[in-house]
């Protein structure tokens, strides 16, 4: 612990962290200095001058020396014994003068209208102010920092006060956000958030002095300027200059902090709910430790589905082939009596991947205790292989370090993961670390946002990633670069492991992977010589039979180089659903009981379900839906077979292919209506709070299951609140900490687990076969990046919205191209099953048998925004490998 610094602000003795600025020290101690351009967590900027103070520092002879002038407290660091005055008459008049200058370019009917105290927040304006300047025409009315600051300073503004209207056109053509630069005070918080925090630079400060304003290069659309639509600029804007387009003028009645249901980062976000019980805005919580005020396009703009009115409103029972509305008792009785005929192995329950820990716990308890069946799984559990060896090798199947620990890493090894799109906020510390000098090794056939941040983007032949890592391990040992102490003393099985790697002869590895030997040696050196390395992998492009080998070799490499859980180092297996960690921890899987207690008879999971239903083993299927699985691979396969079961019960919020085939449908709550907990990828338990009041007759999945259980004669399901369920399930979680519901703070609670490290011998497994077929002999690797300025993109207006088109570049191996008579610059068409793309051929040395193309994130966002389904984020186009053929149009 560094020692704190003592200083006096306005006569009050306080202590603050060394290196902090005066304003931060004051804020940390509950004092307020007016500010507009400062923003906690970003570098001091000193643009608005609102936070001016008087400060003096002690000299050796005991007297005090004033800092010259009136320094801005956001750029003046504190020092021992400093005395600061924040509210002298001189400072107050100075601030008022500065504020008058600021609002001389900002419409301020909202500040000096004489009806301010008379009108309620939603009253209709009675023409006391010109139309454009009315408080009700500003989207930030009543939540504007500029207005709050003016009010705090008790400024007396004369009426009418003229101002210089910039008369700039509104920017309303890009997805999701609206920009009105007439309201901008040029604090450039948004530019700094985009540059410093998100490391994107999608917007910039252009021009200078009086004309200085926020914009993009030559006014290009955000679709091509590198925007990731995270909304960070919106969240920091103190005025109404940049705002969310949806529900732009709506006022929040309540604000509730809850957990985003889109990915395992578990962003804490504050949901604004209006008086009509609609979710109008999502604002990420800055104090939250998991996301630190960040979120992504999904967490910012992808939550609107909870407002959709096409909900399933009451329980439905199939009568004469038609789903008809029924009452809860009728539906529950029917299900209970039917289920008693299917006890045992003919029953299977698939829990929702958006289920809370409570849902998962009750689901597995219901399946095991009431239905006597181990056929229990959750709907996103399709990537089981990457978890196979985690318990054995690192003691617990979870990440070994925290999300923001990534900030301290010197090197990232990212294997087949599209982090910016799939686990966006995880990418924030990575990009920040890289911008401060960290390096990244990306092993991925696809070009992603992060591969642009890396000097080492390695593209091995498809499905040879595990061989490449084996080769790196071999090279580390050959060069004696391993962390020998850690490998032999803190890990088991080193010798056996070392003997297994002689298989990985570098020349053979090089032939298999297509990566040169000296490059492999180079990578080995880079990884071994880095003081702290983080390994992140979701293995998207690796076929399922090889995922386990890949995961094993990655962990072996991490252990070998001593990168497990020290600062800046860690192993991060990345999964997809928001609560997979929770589902696994509490046994909502076919082979483990709660707390990873081994199950003697493991049941049928999602992966075998298709086969079992076709065989007729599963007769009653129970799906806790919540939409989420529909878009995924498993969802697609199950969709084809649901009509083959005798009795199908679905808990669902919206009608879909599953509910169409169901015998009974229960209306299920959405995340914003649930009360429970999610566990994120760093094992942090977050609360999920009901932000919305109930809309129809829906209920939470675990409550519905309890009702069925009660009707089937079980008395072990008497829970009144989710709190009680949590208390029971927390006793099963394998942890070194004590977990209790009341102890979970706003930031959630990480629970510790016991780690023991063990090497696992490797063998060189080769891919069993390519996904390429006779009809589609090539494999397309698609990449997606935020911006690519050197490829001309065309922006057109479609329905008054910007729409982007580019002549896509399709990369081909020169030899492959010669075989089918394609020359550089020829127009080509690639065709796959349900896939088509035209572009211009570009011949280079990419791996033979593959075709590669990189599209813009902007065109994806445009499509997602246009999507007409209830929850468009579920139909998010993941970058899978596609077998294709090439044609000349």
């Amino acid at each position: 612990m560094t020692e704190k610094i003592n200083l006096i602000i306005d006569g009050k003795e306080i202590q603050a962290e060394p290196g902090s600025m005066i304003i931060q020290a004051a804020m940390d101690n509950g004092m307020y200095i007016p500010y507009l351009c400062y923003y906690p967590g970003m570098k001091p900027y000193g643009a608005c001058r609102m936070c001016v103070v008087k400060a003096e520092t002690p000299t050796p002879d005991g007297s005090y020396r004033s800092l010259p002038g009136n320094p801005a407290s956001c750029t003046t660091p504190i020092s021992e014994g400093m005395r600061v005055e924040t509210n002298t008459d001189e400072l107050i008049s100075l601030r008022k003068g500065i504020m008058e200058l600021l609002i001389s370019e900002h419409p301020h009917g909202c500040l000096n209208c004489h009806r301010i105290d008379l009108c309620g927040p939603t009253d209709v304006c009675l023409r006391h102010v010109t139309v454009n300047d009315r408080c009700v025409t500003c989207p930030k009315n009543e939540r504007c920092e500029l207005k709050d600051t003016v009010r705090y300073m008790e400024m007396e503004l004369t009426t009418p006060l003229t101002y210089n209207n910039r008369h700039l056109p509104l920017e309303v053509k890009d997805p999701y956000w609206d920009m009105d630069m007439n309201l901008c005070i040029v604090c450039s918080r948004c530019v700094r958030a985009c540059d410093e925090v998100r490391v994107d630079q999608a917007i910039t400060l252009k021009d200078r002095s009086g004309r200085s304003i926020i914009g993009t290069s030559n006014g290009i659309s955000l679709l091509e300027s590198g925007c990731e639509f995270c909304g960070a600029c919106i969240d920091v804007c103190p005025t109404g200059a940049i705002v969310e387009r949806d529900y732009k003028w709506d006022k929040a009645e309540t604000k509730t902090t809850t957990t985003c249901p889109h990915c395992p980062v578990g962003c804490q976000t504050s949901l604004d709910i209006n008086k009509r019980n609609k979710l109008i805005r999502s604002i990420p919580v800055r104090e939250a430790e998991a996301n630190q005020g960040m979120t992504c396009f999904k967490g910012k703009f992808g939550l609107d589905y909870v407002n959709n009115r096409n909900r399933i409103k009451t329980p439905l029972i199939k009568k004469n082939g038609q789903l008809t509305e029924s009452s809860w008792p009728e539906a529950l009785d029917l299900v209970a009596s039917k289920f008693s005929q299917y006890k045992g192995n003919s029953y299977s329950l698939i829990s929702s991947d958006r289920g809370t820990n409570e849902d998962h716990f009750i689901a597995q308890k219901f399946a095991r205790q009431v239905m006597d069946s181990n056929n229990i799984d959750f709907s996103s559990n399709t990537n089981t292989e990457i978890f196979d060896n985690l318990s054995d090798m690192i003691g617990h199947p979870s990440a070994t370090n925290t999300i923001w620990n990534l900030l301290k890493s010197e090197l990232f090894v990212i294997i087949s993961s599209n982090i910016t799109e799939q686990h966006n906020v995880l990418g924030v510390p990575i990009k920040q670390a890289i911008s401060k000098g960290a390096k990244a090794i990306i092993i991925d056939p696809r070009e992603t946002d992060l591969s642009r941040f890396s000097d080492n983007w390695i593209k091995p032949n498809i499905n040879t990633e595990h061989i490449l890592i084996g080769g790196i391990i071999r090279s580390v040992i050959d060069q004696s670069l391993e962390d020998h102490d850690f490998s032999t003393k803190s890990c088991e099985n080193f010798d056996e492991f070392r003997n297994s790697i002689w298989d990985f002869d570098l020349s053979r590895v090089s032939t298999e992977t297509g990566i040169a030997q000296d490059e492999i040696q180079n990578l080995a050196k880079l990884i071994a010589e880095s003081q702290s390395t983080s390994f992140l992998y979701s293995l998207d492009t690796i076929s399922s039979e090889l995922k386990s080998s890949a995961s094993t070799s990655i962990i072996n490499l991490a252990l070998l180089t001593g990168n497990t859980d020290k600062p800046g180092a860690g192993i991060y297996p990345l999964f997809s659903g928001p609560n997979e960690q929770g589902a696994r921890d509490i046994g909502c899987t076919p082979n483990f009981m709660p707390g990873y207690n081994h199950n003697p008879t493991s049941g049928i999971g999602l992966k075998q379900l298709n086969e079992s239903i076709n065989r007729g083993d599963i007769k009653a299927l129970h799906i806790l839906g919540n939409q989420a699985s529909i878009g995924s691979e498993s969802g697609k396969t199950i969709k084809n077979i649901v009509d083959k079961v005798e009795f199908l019960v679905v808990h669902e919020s919206f009608e879909n292919e599953f509910t169409d085939c169901a015998d009974v449908v229960f209306p299920s709550s959405l995340f914003a209506e649930k009360d429970g907990t999610f566990t994120n990828l760093e094992r942090r338990i977050h609360k999920v709070n009901p932000a919305l009041g109930s809309k129809f007759d829906e209920d939470e999945d675990w409550r519905i299951l309890c009702q069925i259980a009660l009707r089937m004669g079980s008395n072990a399901f008497n829970y009144n609140t989710s709190h009680e369920v949590f208390t029971e399930l927390s006793t099963f979680i394998q942890t070194t900490d004590e977990i209790s519901f009341d102890k979970i703070s706003e930031s959630g609670q990480i629970y510790g687990v016991e780690r023991n490290y063990k090497f696992k011998p490797l063998s060189m497994t080769l891919s069993k076969g390519s996904i390429a077929t006779d009809t589609f002999p090539m494999i397309l690797t698609r990449g997606r990046i935020l911006e690519e300025s050197t490829v001309d993109a065309k922006i057109e207006l479609v329905n008054d919205k910007n729409s982007i088109t580019r002549n896509e570049i399709i990369e081909l191996n020169s030899q492959d191209a010669a075989d089918i008579n394609i020359l550089e610059g020829d127009p080509v068409k690639i065709i796959g099953e349900n896939f088509e793309l035209s572009g211009v051929a570009h011949l280079n040395g990419i791996n033979s048998g593959t075709v590669s193309t990189t599209q813009l994130f902007g065109s994806l966002i445009e499509k997602v925004q246009e999507h007409k389904t209830e929850d468009p984020m579920l139909y998010f186009d993941e970058l899978t490998l596609i077998p294709v053929r090439i044609e000349k149009p």
Binding site: D195, T204, R208, T216, S217, N218, I220
Partner: protein
């Protein structure tokens, strides 16, 4: 001459590469491009961004900060009138007004006939010759409003297109 896109990019890349100096920066590259092709087209922003490993927005932020950079092709002839303190004292405001009237402009800008690009200049660095104007980067000192117009007129009439 409107160059087609590929030629333009080639010119830009050559301009960036032609800088023989230890510190090649965004700013120096932009200057080199403007020296070479007379303005900063979209493509130049993109190429500088790639070459400096940054984004177009960051480059544009720098470029738009300096009024010396222009984003559209200049007209055939450049005319600059110095309005620095020395020239001002020596009556440059009369020259300014005369030239503006002659070019039918109200402020800095390009004439509609595509002939002249007119700019104020804060100092042309020849105060001893004040007042000074620069026509196609050639300085004319101790000049009167009438003489200025004559010089501009001469360029205009020597231009074959204008006869």
């Amino acid at each position: 001459m409107p160059a087609d896109n590929d030629t333009l990019r080639k010119q830009i890349i050559e301009a960036i590469a032609s800088q023989h100096r230890p510190t090649v920066t965004v700013l120096s590259s932009l200057l080199a491009i403007q020296d070479s092709i007379g303005y900063i087209p979209d493509e130049a922003i993109e190429e500088v961004a790639v070459q400096q490993n940054t984004t177009v927005n960051a480059v544009f932020g720098v470029a738009s900060f300096y009024p010396n950079f222009r984003f559209s092709p200049p007209n055939k002839h450049s005319i600059e009138v110095c309005w620095g303190p020395t020239c001002h004292l020596q009556g440059s405001s009369n020259i300014l007004q005369a030239v503006l009237n002659y070019l039918e402009l109200k402020e800095e800008g390009d004439t509609e006939d595509g002939e002249f690009s007119f700019r104020f200049n804060t100092c042309l660095g020849a105060c001893s010759q004040a007042p000074v104007i620069s026509v196609n980067h050639e300085l004319f000192g101790k000049i009167s409003p009438d003489e200025s117009i004559n010089i501009i007129n001469k360029i205009k009439s020597s231009d074959p297109h204008h006869k």
